[in-house]
């Protein structure tokens, strides 16, 4: 048994980069194919075959409240950055921000967008300005609509905590790369704000997401905003592709287990 395991480990250690690279290359045409399919579906106006995601329904509710009461929603982009490995989570946050800010611009509401990284702040500013420009109201947009609360996670959480305790908001939306500091602001949000939708990818943060948001975006769900809210073909296609890759990975797991079990 030991030998089989160590042989497997040896093979895997040397072959993993090649296999992972192959997986990546396989992903490119898959993504392309499913994007085309999603585009065709969208063009035909057919309903998208995606499962329900209560978090996004809650989000629209928060936006409706924003339109009715004029209270802005708070959108936290997390404490991640642009330029390091938290970029993917930050991207997910930006994909969530784009449709929300379009909606906000349509309602004439200025969402309160906060970030803890300067690069992410700049990217978010571009998103928001674009949303206002599409409504022909670029002047409405202000440089300070997106705030860098603090360039440090705990200080960011402290500032967000203050914002969530004081400002009357239509809801608190948190998505992005979060660390230990998440709970500090999330608990205040759950306590003070009418609606809280939160998402995080780090398993260490997920229990707190689970207890502070009634409609959480757990793990990979956080990356789906572009498909569900934005209805972007490439993002919907990504979900289809992701499901296929998921099946492939499950097969890899099963095959590996078979190999590990099979000896003698």
């Amino acid at each position: 048994m030991e030998s089989i395991q160590s042989t497997l480990t040896g093979i895997w250690d040397s072959a993993a980069p090649a296999i992972m690279g192959a997986l990546l290359l396989l992903l490119v045409p898959t993504l392309y194919f499913f994007t085309l399919r999603a585009r065709a579906l969208l063009r035909a106006g057919k309903p998208l075959p995606l499962r329900r995601m209560p978090a996004f329904e809650r989000l629209s509710r928060a936006m409706d409240t924003a339109a009715e009461t004029g209270r802005p929603p708070h959108i936290s982009l997390g404490t991640g950055a642009v330029g390091d490995s938290s970029t993917a989570e930050s991207l997910a946050a930006l994909h969530l921000l784009a449709p929300l800010s379009q909606q906000a611009a349509a309602y004439g509401v200025h969402p309160v967008v906060t970030a803890a990284d300067a690069g992410l702040m700049l990217a978010a500013q571009d998103r928001l300005r674009q949303a206002f420009r599409q409504r022909g109201q670029e002047r409405e947009y202000r440089f300070t609509d997106v705030q860098l609360i603090a360039p440090e996670p705990t200080a960011y959480a402290a500032g967000a905590m203050g914002l969530l305790s004081r400002q009357e908001l239509s809801g608190n939306v948190m998505a992005g790369a979060f660390g230990e500091e998440y709970f500090l602001m999330a608990e205040v949000g759950a306590w003070k704000q009418p609606e809280q939708v939160a998402g995080a990818a780090d398993p260490g943060v997920l229990p707190f997401v689970h207890v502070t948001s009634e409609a959480p975006l757990l793990g990979e769900e956080m990356f789906t905003a572009g498909a569900y809210l934005g209805k972007w073909a490439s993002h919907i296609g990504s979900l289809f592709a992701q499901d296929w890759m998921r099946v492939l990975l499950i097969l890899i797991i099963l095959a590996g287990m078979f190999l590990a079990s099979w000896h003698g």
């Binding site: 970029t87 700049l122 571009d126 709970f183 998921r246 797991i253 590996g256 590990a260």
Partner: protein, 227 residues
């Protein structure tokens, strides 16, 4: 500290920390001016500290000093310098587009690091770790080991299936498969909830330790612990 302020700060400094800690703890009674004050001081110092740190660990040693000391040898550093200056154009609306190339750089590098890390870091190692033997002969004498291995497989795959997005138009075999997938996914969700529970309880231990530390500090400062 005499050099800076002209008097001995050591008598005061512990009390500064003490008062600030109490100001933060006052949030237990709800938002109040003391807490707000502490919050703003914190954000101000933290932002300043990070900026200072970045200057002294990034700007100075990685960009300014090499360029100042040996411009010819570090000519390639003009590229990040130029890109950085372009990024500053984002401060003005009309020139904002010039910074896009720098943003693109950041996003490109970040996305590559994320993809590389996810594939070679997480995915490769997690897949490898999930290859456990289910052969009963490997668990001779430890039946629990086999059950554990089965649970691990069930749970891992279950969680993956729980997140499945596509809802196919069900007919025949497809419908059956979807049913299995949903049931297994349900099971996966339970595993996930157990994970959350375990992590939550562990977090309680960690955070309570932090509270103990602060309480210890507070009591020590007012002399109840004998210094």
């Amino acid at each position: 500290m005499e050099a800076l302020t002209g008097f001995d700060l050591t008598a005061v400094q512990a009390w500064v920390a003490f008062v600030l800690t109490l100001m933060v703890f006052s949030y237990i009674f709800g938002d109040n001016p003391l807490f707000r004050l502490a919050e703003h001081i914190f954000v101000g110092t933290a932002a300043g500290y990070v900026a200072v740190l970045v200057y002294h660990t990034v700007f100075r040693p990685r960009l300014l000093e090499p360029l100042a000391q040996d411009p010819a040898g570090h000519g390639y550093l003009l590229v990040p310098l130029l890109l950085g200056l372009l990024l500053l154009a984002k401060g003005k609306r009309s020139t904002s587009w010039m910074g896009n190339i720098t943003m693109a750089w950041l996003f490109g590098v970040g996305a590559a690091l994320a993809v590389g890390g996810a594939l070679l870091g997480t995915l490769a190692s997690q897949l490898r770790s999930s290859w456990i033997s289910l052969n009963p002969t490997d668990y001779a004498g430890r039946p629990l080991g086999l059950i554990n291995a089965l649970l691990l497989a069930l749970g891992t795959i279950g969680v993956l299936l729980y997140f499945y997005y596509t809802e196919p138009a069900g007919k025949g075999a497809g419908r059956l498969l979807a049913g299995i997938r949903r049931g297994w996914g349900r099971l996966g969700r339970w595993f996930m909830l157990v994970t959350f529970g375990a992590l939550f309880a562990s977090a309680i231990i960690a955070r309570f330790t932090l509270l103990v530390d602060r309480l210890h500090f507070l009591l020590q400062t007012i002399g109840l612990l004998g210094g």
